[in-house]
Structures are given as C-alpha cells and as structure tokens.
Symmetry: C2
Subunit: 406 residues, 2 copies
C-alpha cells in the first residue's frame, strides 16, 4: 500500500465531465489498495474571472478580501470531486483549508504554508476515505482565508505530501511529462523518465513551465517524490526525484529557452570599483531583477562596456532607472534590445564532465549563431542570442548533445 | 444611531456594477451615523449554476458536499462587497458563517440556525467597521458548511438582526415594497407603508413572493422590524411590523392570488366517521399537502361529495394515491381540475369587523363569478374560482375594498 497525493490542474477539472474522469483516476489508485489525498485546482478560467471581478471593483486594497473571493474556485471543484467520487462508490469528503487546517502566514495573496495539521486527514484515510483538499488556499493566524499566489495548488499538493509522509505526489496536467526540449520546436524531443529536482528547477526557471518553481523547491527540501503526468493520456509520466535515485546520469537532460528577455548595454562606463553597485543597487530598489551580467575588461583601464539582461516586461522600468541615474553612472550611451532569447543546456551530469559548454559554443558557431552573453551555473550553461535563431539553436543543441529520439 | 442589517438579493448584486451601487447604499447608512451589517445573496443565476453542477454529476448523495459547492456564491459577493466598501472609504470586512460563527443544525441543504455568536460582529461594529456576512450559509456541529435552503438569505438577515438586537432589517430587492395586489394585474395597486407580520405571511403563502415565509415567521417571533425596499429606486419601502405599530388598521390590506392550485372532487363518498382520515392520511404520507377542504352535508345521510385542493405540481401524485386507495375510500368517481385560482382578501382589521367575507361574495356575484370552494382564517378569506376569471375577480375586489389608488 502506498500513500499518494494526486493534484489535478485547471484543465483537468475544466468542467463536470472532466471532474468525473478525474474521479476515475482517483478510484484506480484506491482500487489498487493505495491511500489517496486529492488536490484539485479551480476549473480552468475561473480564477481569472474571480480576479477580474476584484480588479473591476478597483483592485483589492485588502488582499484578505481578494483571498475570500478567489479561493472559491477550488472550493467548488473540491465539493464536486467529492460528490463524483461518492457516485463511484469511493468514500470521500472535502476538507477546506480552514477545516484541515493548513496554517499559513498572513501575507494574503502570496501566503506561505507554515504548518499542516494531519489529524483530520489521517482520520479520514484510516476510515478508507479520500480527503479532497482544495489547492491554493490556507488559513492565517487571524482565522482568515489566505491564498498562496498563482499556481499555488502545486505547492499545496507538495506540502500535503510532505506533511503526510506520502510516497509520491502526482501532478496531473495537460502534458504527459517533462521533455528534453519544447516539443513544439523540437519534433525529436523525448520524454524523460526521470529528472532531478535541480534540473527541474533550472528547466522551470528558463521557461519550461510545467511545475511551479516553489513546489519543486519544497519537494526537494522535504524529499517528496514528484511525478508529472497527463490526466488525458494513460501513459507513464516523468518522475522528479533526488539525484541519488538516478543511476545513469545524462550529461545533459534538456534544452530550455526563454524569449522573455531583454538586454541592456551601458557604453563606456568608468572602469573603477563600486560601479556595479551603483548600477544594480537602484535597479534592485526599483524591483527589477537582473539575470545575466557581462563586463569586459577595458583596454585602456578607464572605461568599459557593461551588458546585462532583465525580464522583458521590466525593460521600460529598467531604462527609466538608468536614465534617472545617468549622472551617477557616467555612461556615454545605452543600447537596449528585446529581440533576444536565452537558450540553456541543463544537466546534473555536467558537474563531473568538462567540455559541456565548449560543445554548446561549437554547435552554435557551426550554424553561424553569434553568442551575445554567456552565464553558467553548476548544472547549466546559458547563452543569449538573437531571437531569430531560437529554433535553429535549440534543434542544433538537441542533436549535438545526443538527445534526439530515434 | 441605529443598528441596521441590510440584505441584498441576487438581482441587487448581479454584477460588479450592481455591487458598487449596493456599496453606496451601505455607505449612506454609515454616513448617517448608523451601524450596519450587510448580507449579500449570490449573484443572480450563480446558485442555479452551482446546483446544476452538482446535479450533472448525478446529484449529491452527501448534501454536505452540495453545501460546500453552493455556498461559494455568497462568499464571492461578500468579498467583493467588502472591497467595494473599502474603495468608498468605508471600513468593512467579510465574515463567513464559519468565522462568525453562525451555528446551525446538521441538516445539510436545509439547515436551521441554532445560535449566532455576536462577538466578532460586535467587535467590528465597535471599530466602525461593516461586517459583510454572506447569507444562506451556516456551520454545523461537525465543523462543516451548511446552507439554509433556497431563499435562505432572508432568513440569515433576520436571524442576524435578532442576534444583534438591530433596530431594523432592510431587505433590498427588485421591487420597492409590498403592494395591495399584484401591480401587473391591478394598475391601481398601491404600495403599503406598513403591513403586519401576519398579513405578510398570508400574502407570501398565497403567491406574493417578496419575502421568504420562514424569514417573516422568524421576524415575528423575535420582533425584528422588517423593511422591504428597492435597490434600484430611491423611495421608501414597506415596513413589516407588529400589529401594535399600526395605529389605523385597514379592514383589508391586500388581495393576493395563487394560480398554482388544483382541485379534486371525490363523488359519492360514504358519509360516515373516519372517511376524512382515510383520505387525507394517505395523501399526507405521500407528501401531498392539502389546502382547502369542503364536504357537503349529504341529503340522504349515506353519501356525500368531498372537494379539496392541492398544489398543482402534486396533482398527479394525489391522483395516484386516490386511485390506489379506491377500495378503501369507496367513492363512485373523482373529478380533477387544475384550471382554478385561489383569490384571497387579507387584513388584520377583519378580526374586529363582520361582513368582510360577505362583501367579497357579493362583489364576485356581481360579476357573475361562481365560487367553487371557500376557506377562511382569522385574517383571510380565500375562494377558489375558475382561472379565466382571475384578473376580473382581483380587480373587482380591489375596488370593492376601497384599495384603488387615486
């Protein structure tokens, strides 16, 4: 007997028929002798509608009320899924966050889970029942409803799995797993059987948005085995696990990309101590996250060019900051460019292998693709290139690292 | 300073713009120095949609889950109304039934309020805040959500008014008060400034569905002064109060009617003790409520005709029972007719005046309208007539009792 948390995304519970199908998925695990806790999202589109209501009133100053409104989507699907399970003869009952309770802090709209009381759920599980716990919501010390921020249902599921010492947390979604690259671009992309938490985090943060970063971090911290799989196809998914569980590590597990990047170059910045702080301090103060940074060594020791990237949506804000601080920064001009894409090769195997970055640079050079900025981490190499080369670069790298399916 | 509970019906909170308008209504009372508790219904149509969800899953065996689903409509409008009030500078916060708490029994889907804890609301009121409490919902001893049955928001509002010793409970709806008769039929119908609880109950039970009968009963029991008024028109409404508050009592306050009636006549029933019990016992067992009953004295002392009315929707069921019990009842034949209407004149003043019924019979006779069945109570005279005479009868009676507007 295993204990499994099954989380179902918005497209998986999009309407009553989908909820019935989800109930069959739960029943199958129960019939196999497993204990199941089900965690539904809101029906696809419902949370957006509820958020729109609050916005069209003028936006919620009191985010506590925002939470009262937007948390109802998951409450509805939880009640409906419990009914659907009962119709299949599976004992089930909904447990809202205030009933479990799932204790969070008081940061409405973006609360963090502090503690989950497992007693009610254990009692139901011991009676052979399926607790249906709505994702996304919690209860703060002031006895009010909180929500965990968009996509918080993944986090709810992982937190419940950790609290209940579950054997696995299955994340049902509309894709059937994690691929070596975006299948819309790379026809030969392969589904991965397993991937490490670290790789999944890098994949997510560079644009492969299947799992919430926060949920993966929590799973890694608590050693929760995650599985990403499709509600709609009856095939095995991808397991996200600890590195120890993967015996034969691939050199590179996947090629990810993000079009959501913009590049700024400050020309002829003074080459002296404190300049970087003078630039990136005000940007951080303005809430602009800087990603990649490159500073060349200056030829004359006096002035240098400084290039960095920001999320494209923050480009205007970043430019405003740079213009305001022109006097302090003392650059001669700045150049911005949002026609760029960040392409990354990711793999825990590269820790123990040299030459991974070199293979990337060579593959891109062979196609005549110019690299504008490079950044590396222990398990990732990222390059910034012109956006027009996106598909060519990704496909070439996919082949170069031997990831293509037969 | 007065303490007022303001309840807003589904059409009053039908969308975000309506909710903003409702917030202005609340603000006006607050600005006048009053303490206000606001009780919104769900947006018009939303509860039906939620009920449909549960039905299309196959109907909720576990009505606890039904309540989890359908109670979300009021939760949404409560959060939105709190936001809208805050936007107008009015301190407000939603308090769901489990937060107040509003304690009910455990009869999911049709729970009864047992006790309301006033502490949280008193605390908010003392701080100059408006508690926004969703109608229709409660919390049962098992710590689960309950609902009070359709139209339960009126009941919630009256119960809150009683618990908080409110000076008044204002029921905002899409009509601006209680009229002497249905304005769609009687162009000269007048809005009543005041009406007694007893009259309101009779008006409601014979088809003038503005207030839930249950809410009026509760208001009468606890002496809560009710006001029915329009969200959309800025005019005084109708006060529903104790008889003592009405100095000059009208002989007749209104003419009500119900088309939702059907008549059954059993021909040649044995005229002996126990026959009525033999007939109405099985009907009651089958859940069929019988309203008016007439039994003639038999000429020969052996057989008589027995006529009674039921709600039209129960006619088929009633006929089935009668056919099944044919042997026991020993009638020669039965006749059913659903082309009938019940017309009632209502007024507490008739307690102290004779001749009210006579005036009714005369007015109908003058128009050539045949009376099929008569029933009377202390403050009501009802007659059953052919449905085709509905409008003629109501208008004639309205004039006969001097109710016509100038």
């Amino acid at each position: 007997m295993a204990r499994i948390v099954q989380k179902f995304g918005g497209t998986s519970v999009a309407d009553v028929d989908h909820i019935k199908a989800v109930a069959h998925r739960v029943k199958r695990e129960v019939d196999a002798g497993n204990q199941v806790v089900a965690v539904p999202s809101a029906m696809a589109g419902v949370t957006n509608k509820l958020v729109d209501y609050t916005l069209s009133i003028g936006g919620a100053d009191d985010t506590g009320e925002y939470d009262v409104v937007v948390s109802t989507g998951e409450q509805v699907t939880s009640g409906l899924l419990a009914i659907a399970l009962q119709k299949l003869g599976v004992g089930a009952r909904s447990m809202l966050a205030w009933q479990v309770p799932i204790h969070t802090d008081s940061r409405h709209g973006r609360a963090r889970i502090m503690d989950i009381d497992r007693d009610q759920m254990e009692k139901a599980l011991a009676q052979g029942q399926v607790p249906v716990v709505p994702g996304f919501q919690g209860l703060c010390p002031e006895n009010r409803i909180t929500t965990l921020g968009r996509g918080g249902s993944d986090t709810s599921a992982v937190a419940l799995a950790a609290a209940l010492d579950a054997d696995r947390c299955d994340i049902y979604t509309d894709v059937d797993g994690i691929y070596t690259s975006d299948p819309r671009i790379v026809a030969k992309a392969r589904k991965l059987d397993k991937i490490t938490y670290e790789e999944m985090l890098e994949m997510a943060s560079v644009g492969a948005r299947v799992l919430q970063t926060r949920a993966v971090e929590m799973a890694m911290k608590h050693g929760v085995r995650l599985q990403v799989l499709s509600t709609f196809a009856d095939v095995a998914g991808t397991l996200v696990v600890d590195e120890d569980e993967i015996v034969e590590k691939e050199l590179v597990s996947g090629i990810a990309y993000s079009r959501d990047e913009a590049k700024i170059t400050l020309v002829a910045v003074a080459d002296k101590p404190g300049v970087a702080a003078a630039i990136f301090g005000p940007l951080a103060d303005a809430g602009v996250n800087v990603d990649m940074i490159v500073q060349n060594v200056s030829a004359d020791g006096k002035a240098t060019d400084l290039t960095f990237t920001v999320i494209e949506g923050y480009l205007d804000k970043a430019i405003r900051v740079i213009e305001e601080k022109r006097q302090d920064l003392g650059y001669s001009e700045f150049i911005s460019d949002s026609n760029v894409v960040k392409v990354s090769v990711i793999g825990v195997g590269m820790r123990s292998h040299a030459g991974v970055a070199q293979r990337m640079f060579q593959a891109l050079a062979d196609k005549g693709i110019n690299i504008q900025v490079i950044s590396t981490s222990e398990i990732k190499v990222s390059v910034l290139i012109a956006e027009e080369y996106t598909e060519l670069a990704i496909r070439s790298l996919h082949t170069a690292y031997g990831l293509d399916a037969d």
